[in-house]
Subunit: 312 residues, 2 copies
């Protein structure tokens, strides 16, 4: 029997202390604690890491301050197009969805895609048809409306500079990659990873980030580790970040910490790729590296207290 | 100065000799030769591997017998939804598109996404809007109509078993993963890879295969190799095939041949993943492994004759 553990993130980026009120910090802290509890309870009862990461991510999808599910950012059209993925480290089976609207919990859809579609990745309105066929819960547009996201979109919606040159000048100082994710190891030593995101505010042209790309934003393999990323997705895709960490462990013999430090704090920095990730290895070691100013994150190992952090 | 070279594939699978007429074999052979010529000419004039793989893949997209561009298979709705990707091994910049309709050359769109969108991956009808804005050539539905593909679709369109259980019983013996792709090294030693596909006949729910997934179906890195895959895409995504070969070279010191053999003929076989790939390394070595009965393929090294093969 292995010691079980879970780690989660609620996004990395420039999280300015000057914009953070004690009330908001408490909200985030509570939300992270709730997500840890949702996953840990499953692990504690002998459940699977796959169920635990799905439950933890669903908890964050249902919380409006994270950019996933209910709190997803607005696209250029004023809609919500979400991406999610889940992977089982025991079987290497995976499910992913991109550009999905109206489905309450994209990570649950990713799980159902893994188990019922015969495919790994579905996308767009056609993926919603599959979700309907599988009787997944849908929500009206109002459910996904949050005042803060609407204001963020209103500030940039008539400009196209953000999408085309990644200028931050429209972002008023705060730059967040508000993806959520979870990684876990269960009592049987099985690893799993899940990620969910609303993507970039004002995104268009059906942009897909790294979250639903197996090997880039999400990966799990019982031989090595489970990884969920958050950051400037284009760089994470080009660097195949999640699988890179797995390969550095499997083929080069690096520890989880050495692999994470090399990829996040050296390779990605040299490319210009801002962000971070959470990682757990087959021995239950946890790493939560990031090269941005902060990352909403929390973890809990068997029998220990939950640790919640936002800044370095 | 490096010796330049190019390799291409037109899909792997169960290519039955009994269904192959001398006329059809000649058509395929000519099409592969034309694609090699399109890429090789560019390399021979000192052009880039990126231009060469794009030209070679566009040549195959324009040829109706390959499942990409003009010859793309029909989806469940009777449409053509194509995927493509391209990657530059020098800069690790990449472009990809999934579920694109009506664009004449999806690989060219992937190239323009890489260079003009600020993103790596766009999808669906929104990606078509980007292509329109970039003034890419579009074609009406008739352009993509081929009698053979229509008949293949007609035979399975009222069944949904194929999509959900990957049963081959509807496929009348011939099972082909008709993706096309190219890899090349240019005179400067820069590597590039490109892949394009129509996906699976009768596909639905916006299924995305491995072709447009950087690291799975397409990858290039000047430090190691360039790879383009063809096969049962779900397995290639789960195994992160293209980047796996790169990592086995970079982190474990394997030769291109050893890495290709291990991934295609051992790991993928154990998972049940049928297909193959083309690969070229930084020293100009070429490998074209497959675990299926055949793979349309060809290659040409500087100053040598073109080699065209279909079966083992």
């Amino acid at each position: 029997m292995k010691n079980f553990a879970i780690a989660i993130h609620g996004g990395a980026g420039t999280i300015l202390r000057s914009l953070m009120t004690p009330e908001k910090e408490a909200q985030y802290t509570n939300a992270l604690q709730n997500a840890i509890d949702a996953g840990y309870t499953i692990l504690d009862e002998g459940g699977s890491s796959l169920d635990a990461v799905e439950a933890a991510v669903m908890s964050m999808e249902n919380f409006p301050l994270f950019n996933a599910g209910k709190g997803a950012v607005f696209t250029n059209k004023g809609l919500h197009e979400m991406d999610a993925a889940i992977m089982d480290g025991k079987t290497l089976e995976a499910g992913a969805v991109s550009g999905i609207s109206s489905v309450q919990n994209p990570v649950h859809l990713a799980r159902i895609i893994k188990e019922k579609s015969g495919h790994v990745m579905l996308s767009g309105g056609e993926a919603a048809k599959f979700a309907k066929k599988m009787n997944l819960p849908f929500q009206p547009d109002e459910y996904f409306y949050t005042e803060e996201r609407f204001q963020q979109w209103t500030a940039v919606k008539d400009s196209d500079t953000y999408q085309l040159d990644h200028s931050d000048k429209t972002e008023k100082g705060e730059k967040k990659f508000g993806t959520v994710g979870a990684v876990a190891i269960d009592i049987k030593g099985n690893l799993a990873a899940a990620t969910s995101t609303g993507g970039m505010t004002n995104k268009r042209y059906g942009r897909v980030g790294d979250s639903p790309i197996i090997g880039a934003g999400t990966y799990a393999n019982n031989n090595t580790c489970a990884i969920s990323c958050t950051g400037h997705g284009e760089f994470f895709i080009r660097a195949v970040v999640a699988y890179d960490i797995s390969c550095l462990m499997e083929y080069k013999g690096l520890t989880l910490k050495a692999a994470c430090d090399y990829v996040v704090k050296d390779k990605l920095v040299k490319m210009g790729g801002e962000g971070g990730l959470i990682a757990i290895d087959k021995d239950g070691n946890i790493e939560l590296p990031f090269n941005s100013e902060g990352m909403y994150r929390a973890w809990k190992k068997e029998g220990e207290e939950t640790v919640v952090k936002i800044y370095e």
